[in-house]
């Protein structure tokens, strides 16, 4: 189980490295293009995003839902190097993995302890490939990972109170296509359909006197797809809002969504 967790972390690192490579390539391209054609300079936006991440997960032979209420700062570079748009985000995540059972521990634990805070980091890129009438078609990819803090719980009902510690980690990588309609003046609805992979684990340790056990419960997404419907709403020249609804269909379908407020400069 430990090796699975290590593998998951390694995979996260690889995906992150690839995205960073793309990012730096983008920056490099941007710089080159800026030298050759000053008109292609990227525009930057910063914003605040609140997001309810909600996705069906599988662990062992069971399934439940991973919920995470995230509050993030987001930076967005549009038309970076004339190649693509880039999103970077970082913030606080609150991962809730209620319902996970740890039956490898000496005393089986059923986790109903609610949210565990952590740090969420990620980035995304998208690029319009072609335009037909007012419809823009393109591709997108994003990656996010959450590193949870340890959270302690008192184990009551035993001869002496024990302690359990929970620590979640998870990551998600998605890649797919989108269509954006820019025929309206202030609203641009868009639809994304992506293949999406989620993996992670919840580590649990228990200690009652000298009875000590630990288990890392690996988890993965219950499906392989995400569908996002959103709207870019221009509130003013520099401020705009992006509400979105996201569905992860699969053996345990879950619906989430978020709201972002951006300021362009």
């Amino acid at each position: 189980m430990l090796s699975k967790a290590i593998r998951a972390k390694r995979s996260s690192c690889r995906v992150l490295a690839i995205l960073l490579f793309i990012l730096f390539t983008g920056f490099g391209g941007q710089m080159l293009l800026a030298q050759s054609s000053p008109g292609t300079k990227a525009t930057w936006e910063i914003g605040l995003t609140t997001d309810l991440f909600n996705r069906g997960i599988k662990w062992g032979n069971e399934s439940s839902t991973l919920k995470s209420l995230n509050l993030m700062l987001e930076a967005r570079a549009k038309n970076l190097g004339g190649l693509f748009n880039l999103n970077l985000f970082a913030g606080l995540g609150n991962t809730n993995l209620n319902g996970m059972v740890f039956d490898y521990l000496p005393i089986t634990l059923d986790y109903e302890g609610g949210s565990i805070s952590g740090i969420i980091l990620g980035l995304g890129i998208d690029k319009t490939v072609f335009t037909a009438s007012s419809f823009n078609f393109g591709w997108m990819a994003d990656f996010a990972f959450d590193v949870g803090f340890k959270k302690s719980f008192i184990l009551e009902d035993f001869i002496t109170p024990g302690e359990a510690q929970a620590e979640p980690d998870w990551a998600q990588a998605s890649a797919g296509i989108f269509v954006l309609y820019d025929g309206l003046e202030k609203v641009q609805p868009f639809l994304q359909i992506a293949g999406s992979k989620l993996w992670g684990n919840l580590k649990m340790t228990e200690k009652i006197e000298d009875l000590i056990g630990g288990q890392s419960q690996d988890l993965k997404g219950a499906g392989i797809m995400s569908i996002t419907l959103g709207w870019n709403i221009s509130l003013s020249q520099k401020i705009h809002l992006t509400p979105r609804v996201r569905v992860y269909p699969g053996s345990k379908t879950a619906v989430g969504g978020g709201l972002s407020l951006f300021y362009a400069f």
Partner: protein, 489 residues
Amino acid sequence: MKNKNSFFKKRFFLFLISLICLSALILTLGSSELIAQKRKQAKPIIFLDKNNKTKFGENIISNGQANLLSRIKVINQLASKLPKQKFSSRKIIVKFKPEISLQSTENILKVYQPKSYRLIPRINAYVMQVAEGTTVEETLAALRSNPDILYAEPDYKLQLATTPNDQLFRYQYALANPGGILQIPGSPTGKLKADIKATGAWDYAKGDPNVLIAILDSGVDYTHPDLINKVISHGKDFVNNDDDAFDDHWHGTHVAGIIAAATNNSEGIAGVAWNCRILPGKVISADGEGDYSWLIEALIWAADYTSGQAKVQVINMSLGGEEPSQALEDALKYAYNKGIVLVAAAGNHSAPEEPTFVLYPAAYDQYCLAVGASDYNDQIADFSNYGAQLDVTAPGVWILSTIPIAQTEPGYLPYAFASGTSMSAPHVAGFAALLKSTKPWLTPADIMKIIKYTPDDINSADYPGRDDYAGYGRINTERATAPHRITKK
């Protein structure tokens, strides 16, 4: 014509004979079915309802018999009597220093002219019968003065940990105590849930047939209807030195029923470890006595026993002796190191104003769980030995279980009520088997800790936490097997 007549006569005669035979057959079958029905109706049945609460008597009442309780024997023989001698008058256990070769050890032993000797494998100790005309004490003194010998000790006597009684109980309150007045003579009031919470545990663990519980005792009546499908082999008899551990006492069969009687079969009693199986080892004679050497050999044998996928994971010892023994400790260590959970009775000789102590092997704290007895009110039984090595308690007063059919008196059922820490230990052994079945990766140390840290502290008002009288408390199988919910608070 004559021929034709004789032909018809013959046919009529044959037809008549066939008719008679057929009638006889029908009558025979009918009567045997009636007998079978009668037998079935008269079967000793203790029903289990869907909550696994025992209900006695329905079948008997329908059979026109007034009271099933009158057909359940009460063990009132003094099975826990103190042995007449503290140790065997003819046998000694001796172990040589590791640097002495096997050939040399035998040569040295022969110097003492033993009547016989045999090696206990794995722990490399000898059981020797002293020479004619010499006493155990003399031989021991001579052996102990030999620098090649690591230890030499008497072959102490074992005693069964059962207290006599003369009352009946109506329920297996130990598994699920309904509380209120228990419908037995004397009508004592039982405390609701003063039990091991077996019904709660069975939702999560019913045991694995490959988890064997070795019962080192007086043997087991493996023909008993509640045990016949639960005993993996006829075991080994260390008393008579053969491969048939049939119970000629009653104690081992009673212990076996508590641990793993066939359960949820609409018949008899429920065992703690539903699906686990039993391996009997006979170390107690028909008189209720045994020698340490038999127990030591049985421990080694049980620890090494395998049958296909099945192996011994738990050993129950509802017996004990007053003296420590290095060889016994070595044997316990051997079994423990093979991943086996060892459970033993604390003993039944507690008396007011008299010093008491936990018997051996239970007192070997590192390797063995020492079990004391509690009652239907979660009170510590007055006979239950106590001391620093006591780990937990389990119900041990008026426990209903199986007894050998051969020892069932006419008109009685092959079940009996008995009391003692002997009856407490098998509850813990069954509990350990349930844990081992659901989590086979746990070590004996883990299982011992789980059993110790999950009980109900029944004497917390006077002695909160672990104490010498109840140990950590009365075992709670549900708390150890059911998932423990972690909540926000």
